[in-house]
């Protein structure tokens, strides 16, 4: 009992420390940004930005041609991507995804990109491409399935410790520092989209050492907690589309803001309402009343026949094993 109290106290203390550090961090950021502003540092555009590893500095050119090294965190982000706090999310946005089943050829690039970028180590991927056949007479099709980020999320309803939560922008995330591993959310989810870290996740050292970031699911993964698709807020933060959207070679995934009524797969951009009306979009298990944020376009007039995708189909595996050198 005493040990548990000790752990809880140190958890509590480290929570407080984290809050303190976050506050100091914020004020330091503000100060640095102000100083940088007086040099007239121009705003950094994403392509020159490196990976967001804390402590890394970036070289920027001032308007009078001088080269300065600035801490990457102090660089002002694109205003659109500004957000209040990771439990609340982006203001005035509601993220939706549209998956065009007519285009899916089971290339699985979405799955491998997601696995790779979230350092998924278990054998169960967050994004699964199901071989679906609703009945014997109906024709089979490939169905990429992410977390549906439901508007009435059964998983969030049952979480006893507020470890999984729904944000203002519609994204459902998991706080791996809070999760107690009761797995009630996994029992409640009808889409079988959540995975559990049954043992110690086998992630690279530098990933496992990272602090918990609510915007970046699975980085790092924690033993005894739940993980799932996060709609990549860490990418949205940089003005980029989620990994699955950009990785798909067939333009299957569309992503965007429902309030803006716009979705894009990177190359094609549509009005969401027009796309859903024209292609007769639907949601999975609508009758359960979960109100998912993912719409599907029926597999009509397919780009490629279903059978060709069978080459890539692996019934018993969804995460490629890393070849360790």
């Amino acid at each position: 009992m005493a040990r548990e109290k000790e752990i809880a106290r140190s958890d509590n203390a480290s929570d407080k420390n984290k809050q303190r550090r976050a506050f100091i961090d914020k004020s330091m950021k503000l100060g640095l940004a102000a100083v940088a502003g007086t040099f007239g540092v121009t705003r950094l555009i994403e392509s020159a930005e490196g990976k967001a590893i804390p402590g890394e500095s970036v070289e920027l050119m001032t308007t009078d041609g001088k080269l300065v090294k600035v801490d990457q965190r102090s660089v002002e982000k694109i205003p659109e991507a500004e957000h209040v706090n990771p439990r609340e999310g982006f203001a005035h946005r509601k993220f939706v995804m549209v998956i065009d089943l007519a285009r899916c050829k089971n290339a699985r690039k979405c799955q491998s990109s997601c696995n790779k970028n979230h350092y998924i180590t278990g054998p169960n991927a967050w994004l699964k491409v199901y071989k679906m056949q609703n009945s014997e007479e109906e024709s089979p099709y490939w169905q990429p399935t992410t977390c549906q980020h439901c508007d009435k999320p059964p998983c969030v309803k049952v979480c006893p410790v507020d470890a999984t939560f729904k944000r203002r922008d519609g994204i459902v995330l998991i706080d791996n520092d809070r999760c107690i591993g009761c797995r009630f959310c996994m029992a409640a989810c009808p889409y079988s989209t959540r995975v559990f870290n049954w043992g110690e996740p086998d992630q690279p050292e530098e990933i496992a050492a990272l602090p918990n970031d609510l915007d970046y699911g699975g980085v790092p993964a924690e033993k005894g907690t739940v993980d799932k698709c996060d709609f990549c807020p860490h990418m949205i933060d940089k003005g980029k589309l989620p990994h699955c959207v950009t990785a798909c070679p067939n333009g299957v995934f569309f992503f965007g803001d429902q309030y803006e009524d716009t979705v894009t797969n990177g190359d094609e951009t549509y009005r969401l309402s027009e796309l859903l009306e024209e292609k007769s979009g639907y949601r999975l298990m609508e009758e359960l009343g979960t109100k998912p944020s993912v719409y599907y376009l029926p597999p009509k007039d397919r780009l490629q026949e279903f059978e060709k995708g069978l080459d890539n189909y692996d019934e018993f595996n969804s995460v490629e094993k890393e070849e360790k050198s």
């Binding site: 199901y130 309803k157 009808p190």
Partner: protein
């Protein structure tokens, strides 16, 4: 020896004989093996179990449900029967309260064993969400534990006061009995306070007992899954709980009657009545089972179809029919006959009923999880099935052994049958020792 002394002599806690010691030793051994497995689980994580992303709840949860079910027996025997004016069950109230306390303590511990991050247990209190059925479970289980302990303690007071004199030679017992009997003298004020308190507790425990098993049932019924998505689950679980609890009481009362030669106090009449009660409870539970399985079988919705198939004809068929027929139907038939309600046959049947009750909860928890809405794909073949690993079994057996150890331990120091109430019922009064002039 006066009648008074006889009763006390019969009912006072006795030393364990060789069997008692062996029994305790066996329980401790089982617990130690389980404790080592749990240490492994803390070190490596829940990966030492056979649970994986589809069968994400397994034997730990069904074991937990079993414990909650057993704990309801306290409310049944002690409260419901007592409040309805039933007198024959009085000797059994102590046993049922002890079983209830042991079961509810182990229920709380068993659920912690299932947590992926038990180090974060206190998040339940710092960040608890009232919207979550797990929080409801935590609240009601805690409340039920307190009520059960009080309902064990209050009737114990007069007995402790009697025993402190009986054990005058044993310093250890005397100290504890004196301290715990809190100056009980049997005065009118004390009797009135006790009577009122026991009455209040008996009334309170019934809704709380109904709550704990309803809330536990809702851990499943608040999900969409076939097999769990049932409006029937609350009453279904409670009916099952009474069956399991009654069976447990019969089993324990037989053992103690034998071990302590309490044939005068726990008579054939008690067994006969418990047998009849068990028949009634089994019939009620069978009725709920019929509702639970036949109605979906009539409709066979898409979600239910694979699940019901596996229960009736498929991989879980043997277990299912064994539990229903062997665990419920056969006992009912056997107990209809008076010969079946004799102590030894009833004891065996009760053991079968309890065993069946344990496996029934396994049948409720696991098959549903292996029949999700979306097909199971992209995961290793072993994930399509679930059977507990030997470590899971050792931990589960350790929890069962722990509950038995608590019962055994309490019986070592507390009278199995309430002494004071027995004296009152038999009209025996404490003889007044005349002062020697």
């Amino acid at each position: 020896m006066t009648q008074f002394d006889q009763v006390i002599h019969d009912l006072a806690p006795q030393r364990f004989n060789i069997w008692g010691k062996l029994w305790t030793g066996l329980l401790i051994a089982v617990i130690l093996v389980g404790a080592y497995s749990y240490y492994q689980q803390l070190k490596y994580g829940l990966i030492i179990t056979d649970m994986r992303d589809y069968a994400s709840w397994g034997v730990y949860i069904s074991n937990f449900v079993f414990f909650v079910a057993i704990s309801l027996v306290g409310s049944l025997i002690t409260a419901i029967l007592r409040l309805s004016g039933v007198k024959w069950s009085t000797p059994l109230t102590r046993i049922s309260e002890i079983i209830a306390v042991a079961a509810i303590i182990m229920a709380g511990l068993t659920i912690i064993i299932d947590m992926g991050r038990p180090d974060r247990l206190f998040n339940l209190f710092f960040h608890g969400r009232l919207q979550s059925p797990i929080i409801w479970d935590v609240i009601v289980i805690t409340t039920y534990l307190v009520i059960s302990v009080l309902l064990l303690y209050y009737p114990l007071l007069p007995d402790l006061a009697i025993l402190k004199k009986y054990f005058a030679k044993n310093k250890w017992f005397t100290t504890w009995y004196t301290w715990l009997s809190i100056n009980w003298t049997g005065s009118p004020i004390q009797k009135r306070l006790s009577r009122r308190s026991i009455r209040a507790l008996s009334v309170m425990i019934i809704p709380v007992a109904f709550s704990i098993h309803t809330v536990t049932a809702w851990l499943f019924a608040t999900t969409y899954r076939p097999g769990w998505d049932s409006t029937n689950f609350g009453p279904y679980f409670i009916a099952g709980a009474f069956v399991a609890g009654a069976g447990a009481v019969v089993a324990v009362m037989y053992v103690f009657r034998k071990a302590y030669h309490l044939e005068n106090y726990i008579t054939d009449y008690h067994f006969d009545n418990m047998g009849k009660l068990l028949v009634l409870l089994c019939l009620v539970y069978l009725y709920f089972n019929v509702n639970e399985y036949l109605v979906p079988a009539y409709k066979v919705t898409e979600g239910e179809s694979a699940h019901l198939n596996s229960l009736f004809f498929g991989e879980y068929a043997a277990m299912f029919w064994l539990v229903i027929v062997g665990g419920l139907v056969v006992p009912v038939i056997a107990l209809i006959f008076p010969q079946g309600r004799k102590p030894l046959p009833l004891f065996i049947i009760a053991l079968i009923v309890v065993l069946g009750a344990w496996w029934k909860r396994y049948i409720i928890v696991t098959p549903t999880l292996l029949h999700p809405f979306l097909p199971i794909q992209g995961v290793p073949e072993s994930w399509h099935e679930y059977f507990p690993t030997w470590r899971e079994w050792s931990i589960t057996l350790a929890t069962l052994a722990s509950s038995l150890l608590i019962i055994t331990g309490l019986i070592r120091v507390l009278p199995v049958v309430p002494i004071q109430e027995t004296l009152e019922e038999r009209g025996i009064e404490e003889p007044i020792i005349e002062e020697l002039k």
